[in-house]
C-alpha cells in the first residue's frame, strides 16, 4: 500500500537568552517557573525585546546546510499565530515567515525553514504549566511528504539530527530533544497529523501505529478522515485530539511589536564564511577525497568532531588505514565508553604517532588497540603508554621460552593439534599471549609454535 510521510521538526536553538527576553534558556535545570519575566509569561502590557540575533543567524545557517534558498532582500514578518492552549502565555505563538525554501536532505525535499518560539511546558494529565521553556528560540523544518515507510522516515530523522548536531547551533540532544509533528497518509485515506512526538524512536513507533490503524480501517472499508491526533508516549498509541483543542484558523498577523527581518547578501556571506559543511555532503567528500568506502565514510561523518579528527590524522597516515582504525577500533572504544568524539581529550598528534607505530610494525595491532583504549582514558604519548602498560615486545629468547612452556603444560592440546585440530593452535597462541602479558605478536607465536610442534612431530 502506498504511503506518504512528512515531518515538521522543531529543534531548540542554542542561545544564552530567550528569543524575545533576557531570561536564560537552561529550563530543565531549574525549578518550575524560575526562568520567567513579564515578557515570557504574557503579563499585561509587556512587549517583546528585539529578536535574538544569534537565533536568527542560526536559523539561516541551518537553512543553508539543508540546501535551502535563503529569502534574501525581502520582508520577513514575525507573525502571531493565534490559538488557545494553556502553554501559550499570550494566546499566540510568534513564528516567522520562511527564512529558507526548497532545500533537500538525502532525497527528501525541505519545503521551508523558519523561526519560532517555544511555548511553556504543559502537563496535560496533571493540568500544570511551567513557563521556564516559554520563549526559547526554535527552528522549524518542514518537509514534503517524501518518505514512504517508517524505516525511511526514521532514517531521514536520524540524518536530520546529525545535521543539526553538526551545525553546533542547536541545544544538545540531552536537553531539547527533537519534537516533530508527523503527517501520514495511506493511498485512499485522508491525511492524519500526529502531534506530541518527542524523539526519533517515538516518531517511528507513532508512524508504525498509524499505518496499522489506518490500514485496518481501510481494509474494513471505513474511511480514514483528515484529523489531528496526539501520540501517547506511555502507551505507544495515537489518540484523536478534540476539535475544541485545535484552532482551525490561526488568524496570522505580523506582530505589531516586532519589526520584520530583511536578510541581506552581506549577512548570508558572513554566515556562509564560517558555516560548517553539512554531514551528508561531507560524507560524499570523504569518499572522493580519501578514497574510502561509503559505509566507513558514513561512520566517520556520524559526528562532526570524529570527522574533524579523521581529516587531521589522514593528512599524516594512509587514509584507508586510518579509516579502518576509526571504524573498527576507535568508534568501538568510544561507543563502549559512552563517549562522543567531542569528549575525547587526546590530541591528534598522539593518535597519529600511535597509528604510525602500528603501520610500521613497531607494535602489533593488538597492542595498538590496548594503547588506543588507554589513550582515550588517559591521554599521553603512545610510547610512554606502551611502557606503562608493559607492552614493549618480549625478546626472542623470552618468547621461545614462553612457547616451550605452553607446549609443556598442555600436552592434551598438543595432541589435538597434531591430530589436525586447528582450534588447538589458537588455544596455544592464547596461552603464550597470557604468559607474555600480551607483549608478543600472535603471528610470530604461530610461526614459532608451528616450527616447534613440527619438530616434535
Amino acid at each position: 500500500m502506498k504511503m506518504l510521510i512528512g515531518f515538521e521538526v522543531h529543534q531548540q536553538l542554542s542561545t544564552g537568552r530567550k528569543m524575545y527576553c533576557d531570561c536564560p534558556t537552561n529550563y530543565q535545570e531549574v525549578p518550575p517557573n524560575t526562568n520567567i519575566c513579564p515578557i515570557c509569561t504574557g503579563m499585561p502590557g509587556s512587549k517583546p525585546l528585539p529578536p535574538n540575533e544569534r537565533a536568527v543567524d542560526a536559523a539561516i545557517e541551518i537553512a543553508l546546510m539543508l540546501g535551502c534558498e535563503i529569502i534574501a532582500d525581502r520582508i520577513i514578518y514575525i507573525q502571531r499565530k493565534h490559538y488557545d492552549y494553556p502553554d501559550l502565555p499570550s494566546g499566540y505563538q510568534r513564528t516567522s515567515l520562511p527564512i529558507g525554501l526548497n532545500g533537500e536532505l538525502q532525497g527528501v525535499r525541505i519545503r521551508e525553514v523558519h523561526l519560532e518560539e517555544d511555548p511553556g511546558q504543559y502537563d496535560p494529565t496533571l493540568g500544570t504549566v511551567d513557563f521556564n521553556r516559554s520563549g526559547v528560540p526554535l527552528v522549524e523544518i518542514v518537509t514534503e511528504p517524501d518518505m514512504h515507510s517508517p524505516e525511511e522516515a526514521r532514517k531521514f530523522l536520524r540524518q536530520l539530527v546529525r545535521l543539526l548536531e553538526y551545525s553546533g547551533k542547536v541545544r544538545p540532544e540531552a536537553g531539547g530533544a527533537m519534537r516533530t509533528d508527523t503527517n501520514i497518509s495511506l493511498e485512499g485515506g485522508g491525511r492524519v497529523e500526529v502531534k506530541n512526538i518527542n524523539s526519533v524512536k517515538g516518531a517511528y513507533r507513532a508512524i508504525k501505529f498509524e499505518i496499522m490503524r489506518q490500514r485496518a480501517k481501510l481494509e474494513r472499508g471505513e474511511a480514514v478522515t483528515r484529523e489531528t491526533r496526539a501520540y501517547l508516549e506511555s502507551q505507544k498509541i495515537t489518540m484523536p485530539m478534540r476539535l475544541k483543542e485545535l484552532e482551525e484558523d490561526y488568524r496570522y498577523i505580523p506582530d505589531p511589536d516586532i519589526f520584520p527581518l530583511v536578510i541581506d547578501q552581506a549577512r548570508i556571506r558572513r554566515i556562509k564564511a564560517s558555516m560548517v559543511e553539512a554531514p551528508h555532503l561531507r560524507e560524499q567528500r570523504l569518499v572522493k577525497q580519501y578514497g574510502i568506502g561509503p559505509s566507513v565514510a558514513n561512520v566517520i561523518a556520524s559526528e562532526r568532531e570524529l570527522a574533524n579528527l579523521f581529516e587531521v590524522v589522514a593528512r599524516e597516515v594512509d587514509p584507508k588505514f586510518v579509516a579502518t582504525w576509526f571504524r573498527t577500533k576507535l568508534k568501538k572504544i568510544l561507543n563502549y565508553m559512552k563517549l562522543r568524539a567531542e569528549d575525547v581529550k587526546f590530541v591528534p598528534e598522539q593518535l597519529i604517532d600511535l597509528l604510525k607505530m602500528i603501520k610500521s610494525d613497531e607494535i602489533t595491532p593488538e597492542q595498538g588497540e590496548l594503547v588506543l583504549r588507554e589513550l582515550v582514558k588517559r591521554p599521553g604519548d603512545p610510547h610512554e603508554l606502551l611502557l606503562q602498560l608493559g607492552l614493549v615486545r618480549v625478546g626472542r629468547t623470552e618468547l621461545q621460552a614462553a612457547v616451550a612452556e605452553a607446549i609443556r603444560t598442555n600436552p592434551e592440546v598438543v595432541k589435538d593439534y597434531l591430530a589436525g585440530k586447528q582450534e588447538a593452535l589458537h588455544f596455544l597462541v592464547g596461552k603464550v599471549m597470557q604468559l607474555t602479558n600480551m607483549r608478543a605478536d600472535p603471528r610470530e607465536i604461530i610461526k614459532l609454535l608451528r616450527a616447534e610442534l613440527g619438530r616434535e612431530g
Binding site: 537568552r17 525549578p31 529578536p51 535574538n52 494553556p86 496535560p124 500544570t128
Partner: protein, 84 residues
C-alpha cells in the same frame, strides 16, 4: 452571557465593517501599512541572561497573582480533555 446579547453585539460590530467597505470603494490598491513607522532588522545580540535576583523577585509576584500553584511552583490549569 446571554445568546441574545452576543447576537446583538455581533450585529452591531459589523456596521462599521459595512461602512468601511463603502468608504474604501474606488480607492486605489496600495501596499499595507502595518506599523506606526517603518524599519527592519532591529535585533539584539545574544548574551548573558538577566540576573537571578531580578527573576526571583518577579517569580514571587507572578506566583502571588496566579489563580493556582502546585507545591513545585507550577501554574495550575485545566487537565486536557484528550487525556481521557
Amino acid at each position: 452571557m446571554s445568546e441574545q446579547r452576543q447576537k446583538e453585539i455581533e450585529l452591531s460590530a459589523e456596521e462599521i465593517v459595512e461602512s468601511f467597505v463603502k468608504a474604501a470603494e474606488g480607492l486605489p490598491s496600495e501596499r499595507e501599512t502595518y506599523y506606526g513607522h517603518e524599519a527592519c532588522n532591529i535585533m539584539r545580540p545574544d548574551g548573558q541572561p538577566s540576573p537571578d535576583e531580578e527573576r526571583a523577585d518577579f517569580r514571587k509576584q507572578f506566583l502571588a497573582i496566579t489563580p493556582g500553584v502546585d507545591e513545585h511552583g507550577n501554574l495550575r490549569v485545566e487537565v486536557a480533555r484528550w487525556t481521557r
